[in-house]
Amino acid sequence: MVRLRQDPMPLMLALLLAAAGASLVIGKVWLPPVVLFDGLAAPKPNLAWLIVTELRIPRTVLALMVGATLGLGGAVLQGLLRNPLAEPGLLGVSGGAALGAVIAIYFGLAARFALATPLLGIAGALVAGALTFLFGRSGTLTLILAGSAVSGLAAAGLALALNFAPSPYAAYEITTWLLGSVAEKEWSQIALCTPFVLAGWLCLAATPRGLDALTLGEAQAESLGVNLNMLRVLALAGVALSVGAATAMAGAIGFVGLVAPHLVRPFVGYRPSRILLPSAVFGALLLLVTDIAIRVIPTSSELKLGVLTSLIGTPFFFWLVLRLRRMSP
């Protein structure tokens, strides 16, 4: 039975705005808001203006974009695969993106031109998505299995790159890159990835009706006129484009895509179509707040975003298992 509660969207959007504001004020370097505003009004460039426009705004934008992508991707895949454990990484897309980006680092392309990492990351995601679809298009289960296989392939490729890293330092960098971060990215990199992310969102935005019908079962959905193959293609292409581009930018960030749909579901009901948008907003909020936490937590070496999301996400996983056990007869 769907519990109808107050629409959480206004609250989440308000929180999102507040978090975005906080994200511009909070950083490793503490500048009082007054100084920040003075800096923005004073002749440019100055320290406050540089820090806000060149470092904190890109970081905030990226956190929002990546978080929303993961939340949306997770919601769509949980609906499509009708599996509560589905998340964007499941189809091998994150792994493919990571492998592509790591190849850019490995062969030194990243050093020669900065956009090599996101470009190859996106290419990797698309190849991985295509592979998954090629092998798994006949059904939900085969899609999951093909996704696992592609993930495994990507993981093997990553291990191989680490094994043969051109210099030990490159191995170190590959590892740290994989931990995920939205800090200190350039505007040009963000601009490169944005079209892919938006294209992915568009694909995913076309899925809700099909996902709703799919809750009745595959045969029933088809009898309602839903083209299941088309639905899978849309979902996969959307995830490959958006999550691939997000991973190429920010590295592998786990659990947001898994957690976000589950956390909004009790508030908006269990219809897949109603979860997509709140899940995206909540994912963005979650990632942004986590990224702010990283800046506040005093560590001598920077805590990486993906590490913190995993640390927060794992207990949630246990909770999910316990809850499923309680609910199942």
Partner: protein, 318 residues
């Protein structure tokens, strides 16, 4: 040129070999590169005289095996080649830059147990990591094991050089090398710049050397302030772009690892902000010179001092 077998690189060796790798560059910067080439020749006369106790007539080890890169270089500086059983496989590039040709004909080891048994050394110069394994096997081949720690300061360098000199039976060589180093340090100290520059060794925000690192020591000797030295008690901490902007150092020292392929770090240290505001203020220093505490570390400080002169006046403006 032999490249170390890549799959054998452990991350532990990483920090050392990555830095030692770019010794070729260091050679361009260090005037003393062509210093003592091999064995006992090539050292300034009279350097070994003075307060040194007369060399004791002990039997000098004749099959010395070095299991750490920094020891390799020291060993080649102090001992004739025919008394060296082997040096590490990592040494070649470094030696090629620092002491060209000094390792010709010297066998190499990969730090494995088998090689100890095979090469039957009478003295093993081990690093902190390789010492336990070396000790276990030393009995079997009848070798003495000397554990040489890492040198992170000029005081450490003095201790390590003396220790190695003593161990290989060449205390005079050690004394001469140190006298030369101290002469250079004294010159640096007596010619301090009027205004100490504020610098940071920053090549991407991940690991910036702070207090307790050799880099910090070299920067201090060069007459500059390492602004990362304020990092609390952690030798390598993160120092983000925000902090870099706020600190606005006079110059950014960027470690260059020319040994192997480029890495993401190179891209990261080229953030548009750095390009824009620190143009002409980026000093590429050879990572190598900062990895091993050697008598040549004083030359690294002198090289830095010389590079400061080419910096534009004043602080970066925006």
């Amino acid at each position: 040129m032999t490249t170390p077998r890549k799959n054998e690189l452990s991350l532990k060796a990483a920090s050392v070999c990555r830095r030692l790798a770019c010794l070729p560059l260091m050679c361009l910067l260090l005037p003393a590169c062509a210093g003592p080439a091999t064995g006992t020749e090539g050292l300034p006369d009279g350097a070994s005289s003075g307060a040194l106790p007369a060399p004791v007539a002990v039997r000098k080890p004749t099959r010395i095996m070095s299991m750490m890169l920094c020891n390799d270089v020291l060993l080649l500086m102090m001992v004739p080649r025919d008394r060296i059983a082997s040096i590490t496989y990592l040494a070649h590039d470094a030696v090629e830059a620092l002491l060209p040709g000094a390792d010709t004909g010297v066998a190499i080891n990969h730090g494995t147990a088998e090689e100890i048994l095979l090469q039957k050394p009478d003295l093993i110069l081990a690093g902190t990591d390789s010492a336990p394994m070396a000790r276990k096997l030393a009995k079997a081949v009848g070798a003495r094991v000397v554990e040489v720690g890492a040198a992170n300061s000029f005081a450490d360098i003095r201790r390590v050089v003396r220790q190695v000199g003593q161990a290989v039976g060449e205390p005079g060589q050690a004394h001469a090398l140190l006298a030369e180093m101290d002469r250079k340090l004294a010159w640096l100290a007596s010619h301090q710049p009027a205004r100490p520059l504020r610098v940071v060794a920053w090549s991407g925000s991940q690991a910036v050397p702070g207090k307790g690192t050799l880099t910090n020591e070299i920067i201090a000797a060069s007459g500059a302030d390492n602004i990362a030295a304020r990092l609390p008690d952690s030798r390598y901490g993160s120092f983000g772009l925000e902090e870099l902007l706020a600190a606005r150092p006079d110059a950014i020292l960027q470690g260059e690892t020319r040994w192997s392929g480029p890495s993401l770090q190179d891209a990261q240290s080229m953030h548009p902000l750095i390009e824009r505001y620190w143009r002409g203020r980026r000093i590429g220093y050879p990572d190598a010179a900062y990895a091993c505490g050697l008598p040549q570390s004083a030359d690294a400080a002198i090289a830095l001092r010389n590079l400061y002169r080419e910096l534009p006046a004043g602080r970066p403006r925006w």
